[in-house]
Structures are given as structure tokens and as C-alpha cells.
Symmetry: C2
Subunit: 401 residues, 2 copies
């Protein structure tokens, strides 16, 4: 069977959603802002017009539930970063709306829609899907505060009058999230579709090297214990060693560096820095942890420093369901032959939480120039439409008639 | 001839000077503070008691001038860092006082004493000697402000009632500054005396590498333009190249580093950093500048970054007078055989300015653990006394009777 989506209606809804909190080419629509609440109210109306049952749960997730006993859930989020792009989350929600609507019109398979709340982390990332999947209780989430000190429990009162009821995850057979890539890989390769193989896991250790702060004129090179030189030695060494161990999609980053006392005339006595690494395979993440820890110790000995390693932060990789992935691959191959690839998701998504309760799949469209979390994030219209068609095609494949 | 110094009197005066602004084992006596002014008033009284003519010039330099038409000038400074050690500057001034006094008592050669004002840079380093030697006009110096925005012209009003007259540098035949080493080299070697070969020159360039800020999960290693990785590559490369070029007393330092946006999950898009290098030879400083500039360019190309180099800051090396150096060497060899060495001064001193108008020499005593510009700076009493004797011996050698 086929699900005949309406491109014009899809684009019109996508642009309408952009009007809530529009700011230049992007949007300012953080969770529970007036713009966010207005967008959620509009979405609830739009799913109702499509023939789905609108439901808004206590934390502000908006559903459009198909009347069938079981349906496939599609969606993402409609809240934005403090200054965000117009498609981050929005593409996944409006493509879900269009596929669900087109499927209803064409007597296709039952499809439901969701926009999770606070994916962008005003109160901590992927918060709406975290509560929906039971990974965090609502009362616990209510204690979380934003950067102004406002608790979520207070902020969500602004939506209290809209809440209908909780939606049971058991209503759904699986979840597919379409999303912008938020990286440059598809755009650089001139491709339109990424079928996600896994959502990568994440580890991070914050280290401190301590040496001896000294006068940069009177302390000879041979007697220095320069903490910044330790970081240089360490970083070069892990680059060498990890390069031999990893795959082309493994990443590692030294992104946060504080040098003390940070003066041109003083030999640095202390440096604090983060090492973060991501991969789809838990075993590889663990091997990398070993290399990184060992190298920090070796560097400390070599450079006459002491080293402290903080507690390792850890998020496990999330596998993608084989059947959903297969449906997306087959659909991509049909609609965009030679213009798709399989790839891991380097970023966390609501699908990471949903994987606890449902099989998940994910689909990427390119981000022009890899730009994300910025007002000038964008995707070519043709790629948005290809993404919509590939999603519709995958849904049709999952429910052959 | 011999100059018979009085160790007890010398140590008593040194400890008395410490009482002005004493703070734990160190002192808080920045230029023009109440403690600094009280110390200068005491010093003027002490040189008068010794039979020297006390003079205080407009910027606050305190002299004890020998009545002879020409004399040898000894001294350093009595102001301190905001939190400083008790011997930094003080050792040079009180050893000068004791040698001048002992020489007068023993009918030795004519010796004058100086404590320059604001060596530690409340209004910019070595300010008192800069004005005394004509390198900066008093009216220009008066415009300089401290970190609270107070101009020197206002601050020095607190000493206005003490000013006598300017002292003509032509009154002196040369200048010897005794000082603590402010580095660990003598202490590590178990030596008591450093005879300074030159005050090293100094160069500094502040660089910026600009790459592309990106998501640390979604941007593959191969497509990154990571500015911090550029700094790692650059630093390792200059370490290699400079290592082949320099002498054991040449130093270079990356002491100031700012990473943008400095977040663990973001590939650094920009890094600002300082490279500072010091050596006694101007030609070598220039060769190093070439290596450092070239390596920054090469790194930028290699890592896909752009590079900006700021204007190079530059202070030329200051040579030491051959005769003064010879007198110090011969005296050190006599008083402390096998416990002295020749060495460059890695730090700037008042002698750097005085070299514009007089032949200069410098003498170091060890800093325990290399600690300087800190309340716990110290030197063993035996080394202070050896320093005093070597200074007296050098003065005696310069004026054979």
C-alpha cells in the first residue's frame, strides 16, 4: 500500500509552526514559554482536525492518538533552544502529523503523533519523554529548576488548564523519530537521508593536572612542572592511541579547558579539562575509557604532575529496532536511491528515552552546513520532502495490507 | 682593602623593614601604601644615621647619597607585590645600606644606596627606575592608573611632603643590584650565589586560532576544524623545533589560554593563547620568533584553521658590565668557592632601566623552592650573609686602595 502525503499542506503546517516564537529565520520557543504553549495548543487542534484524539499529559507532551487499539507513534518535539532553528524537532512532529493524516485519509495503517515537552532542556534535556517513559517521576521532575531558578512544577502550571490525561505507551507498537541531522555529514556528502543505526553512547571524564605554578622567566624548562604542557602531551597521546582503536564515526573531544592562573608570564600550575567520547558500541566506549585513564596517568608521571579524574559520566548507546530500521532502509532505497546512508546519531534524542518502552527507529535529513542550535539552522525544501516521503514509505511497509 | 660588614646589624635592619606591612611570613607593602611610605621614611632616616645624604625624588625613589663627587650606587626596591615576600627588593636595599655604612666606617670606597619606587608595578613595573633614568617622563607616569583606577599622580601626593630633590645619575659610577633569584635553580643546585650574565630579553605574541564551533556528538573527527586541537599541534611542534635551537637557559611558555565556547559537548571554534619566550641573546629571540610565527601558519594550514597574530611585545636583553661582573665573580669565588654560578636573570629588574644611564651588575641569592611573589618566599640566613659578603667584596675590588 501507499500513503499519499500532501507536500503543500506539510510545508504550510511547518511554516505555521515556525510563526510561534519566530525570530529572524529561527525560533525562540523554549518549553512552557508563551510561544511554546501556543504552539502546543495549535498542534492539539491540528491533530483533532486530522481525526486523531488530542491528549496533553501533565508534563505537557502533546499527543494525537489514533482511535485503533494499537498504532505506530511518530513524532519529536516542538520546544526549542533559547535561540533555536525552525526545524529542530518541528520537522519530526509535522512530518508525523502529515503521515498520520494522509494515512487516515487513505485508509492506511493507524499512526499516532507526539510532541514531547522540553527536549531542549530548559529543565534538563529530553525531560518530557523521560517522564512519559517512567525513567523519572513527575514529582521528581517538578523539583528541577531552570537557569532563572524557576521549578518545572511552577512553570508547567501555565499549561494546567490544557491537560487531558496520561497516554499509555502500551497503545503503541513502536516509535519513529524523524529529525534534522545536526551535523554536517549528509550535507557534505550531498545526501538526503540518514537511517540511524544506533543513538551513540556518551562518556565523559573531567580531569585535573596539577604541577607547579612558577615564574615564566626564572624557571628553566628542565625544572618546570607545567600543567598545560601536560594537557598538550596527553591530548596528542590519546589522539595517537584512539586513532588506532576506533571507527570513522567514533568521536572524542577536549572541549572545556581552564588554565590556572592563566597569565602569559606564569608557568601554568593547574589545568582542568574535559574529555568526552561517543560511539554506538558500549565495548568500544569502555576500551576508550581505559586508554584515556591510562594515558592521563602516564602523562602525569612523564611530566611530573599529579592527576585527578572525576567520576565518569555515562549514557549507554541505544540500539535501533531491526524491523523499523529495515523499513526505513527499504523506503530510502526506493525514494532516494544513492542519496541515503546509514549512520549513528551522535546526539541524544527523545527516541533514546522511548527505547525503554517501545522499539524505535530514526531518520535524518541534512542540516545545511551542519548548523544546529542556532537561528540560521536550515534544510533544503527538497530534502524535507524526501524525508517526509521516506517516513511515509517506511510506515506503509510496516503495515502491509 | 676589605669592607667589614656587620651581620647582626644587617639582619636587624632586614627584619625591621619586614615589620612595615608584615603579613604572616611575608609583607603587604605596595607602592605608596601607608606601609610603603613608612618604610621609605624609616630608610631615609637610616641612611642619614649612616652618614649618607637622604634624598627622595618626586616619584618616591629614596636615595642615600655619599658626599663624594662620584660613588658606586647599590640598591633595589622596598615596595612589594600586593602579597609579597619579605626579601624581594628588601635584600638588595638593606645589603646596600650595610655595605655603604660599613664602607664609610672603614674609610672604604664611596657607596650610595637606593630604593626605587613601584618596582612591583602597582602602576606598571619598574616605574621608579624608569622615570629616574628618563625612559618615561614624570607627567606621563602620573597618568598611569592602578587596578582601582587611581592615577599615580594622585597616589604620590601622599609622599609629597617628603620629597627633597632629584638625584642626578651622573653622581654615580655604576649600579649593582643584589636580589633574590625568584627561581629554583640555585636552590636545586645547592648553591649560594648567582652572578648575572645578562637580564634576558622578552618577546610575546598573542595568537588566535579560529576553526568551526560544532556539536561534539554529530561532527565526525574527519570534518572537524577544532581550534583547541590546533593549539595542541602548535605547542607540540614548537617544543620540538625550539628544543633544537635554544640553550639550557632559554625559556618559552604558553601561559594564557582561552577556549571558546569552552563546553565539554562543543568542538572548540576558537582559541586565544599567548606564547612568551626569553633569552639573553637578541639574535636567538629573533630566530625563535620566526619559528613560532611559521609554526602557527603551518598549524593553521594543517588543521584547517585561520590564525591571527597580535603585535609582538618586546623587551631587549640587557648586558651586564664586564668590570662589575668580573668583580662579582672574583668576590664569589673567594667567599663561596664551588657555591656560585653565572646565570642570566630571567626576570626584569630596576637594573634593566638603570643600564640606560650606568654600567650595571647583578647578584642573586637563592629562593627556597623557587618561591617568589608569595608570602612564603624565603632564603636561608647563611645565603643572605654570603650574598652580603660577596657584594661587599665586589665593591672593595672595584675601588682598590
Amino acid at each position: 500500500m501507499n500513503i499519499r502525503t500532501n507536500s503543500a499542506r506539510f510545508l504550510s503546517d511547518l511554516h505555521h509552526l515556525r510563526s510561534f516564537g519566530v525570530c529572524g529565520t529561527g525560533v525562540v520557543r523554549p518549553a512552557f514559554s508563551d510561544a511554546d504553549i501556543a504552539a502546543r495548543k495549535w498542534l492539539a487542534g491540528r491533530v483533532a482536525e486530522a481525526g486523531l484524539q488530542p491528549e496533553i499529559d501533565a508534563i505537557g507532551n502533546v499527543f494525537g492518538v489514533h482511535p485503533a487499539q494499537k498504532s505506530l507513534l511518530l513524532g519529536s518535539h516542538t520546544d526549542s533552544q533559547p535561540e533555536g532553528g525552525w526545524l529542530d524537532g518541528a520537522f519530526g512532529v509535522i512530518s508525523a502529523l502529515e503521515v498520520a493524516r494522509a494515512s487516515l485519509e487513505g485508509n492506511g495503517p493507524p499512526v499516532s503523533v507526539v510532541s514531547f515537552q522540553d527536549e531542549e532542556g530548559r529543565f534538563g534535556g529530553v525531560g518530557g519523554s523521560e517522564v512519559w517513559t517512567g525513567a523519572r517521576s513527575l514529582s521528581d521532575a517538578d523539583q528541577r529548576v531552570d537557569s532563572d531558578g524557576i521549578p518545572l512544577g511552577v512553570a508547567r502550571q501555565a499549561m494546567a488548564g490544557m491537560v487531558t490525561s496520561q497516554v499509555d505507551p502500551a497503545r503503541f507498537t513502536g516509535f519513529i523519530e524523524a529529525h534534522i541531522e545536526q551535523g554536517p555529514e549528509l550535507d557534505l556528502a550531498g545526501q538526503s537521508i540518514g537511517v540511524v543505526t544506533a543513538i551513540v553512547g556518551f562518556r565523559q571524564i573531567d580531569f585535573v593536572f596539577e604541577g607547579r605554578q612558577n615564574h615564566a622567566g626564572t624557571t628553566m624548562m628542565a625544572t618546570r612542572r607545567d600543567a598545560f604542557q601536560g594537557l598538550v602531551t596527553f591530548t596528542a597521546a590519546i589522539n595517537d592511541k584512539l586513532g588506532d582503536l576506533v571507527t570513522p564515526t567514533t568521536v572524542w573531544t577536549v572541549g572545556h579547558v581552564l588554565v590556572h592562573p592563566n597569565a602569559a608570564s606564569i608557568v601554568p600550575g593547574r589545568v582542568e579539562f574535559s574529555v568526552q567520547w561517543r560511539d554506538a558500541k558500549a565495548e568500544l566506549l569502555e576500551q576508550m575509557a581505559q586508554v584515556i585513564r591510562d594515558t592521563a596517568q602516564e602523562t602525569a608521571v612523564q611530566c611530573g604532575l599529579s592527576v585527578e579524574a572525576g567520576v565518569m559520566a555515562e549514557i549507554a548507546p541505544v540500539p535501533v529496532d531491526t524491523d523499523l530500521r529495515r523499513a526505513l532502509i527499504d523506503s530510502a532505497e526506493e525514494r532516494a536511491p544513492d542519496r541515503w546512508r546509514e549512520m549513528p546519531s551522535g546526539a541524544l534524542h527523545d527516541a533514546s528515552n522511548v527505547a525503554r518502552v517501545l522499539p524505535i527507529g530514526m531518520l535524518f535529513v541534512p542540516s545545511i552546513g551542519g548548523i544546529s542550535h542556532a537561528l540560521d539552522e536550515d534544510t533544503h525544501k527538497s530534502d524535507l520532502l524526501t524525508g517526509l516521503e521516506v517516513l511515509a514509505g517506511a510506515v506503509a511497509r510496516l503495515h502491509p495490507k
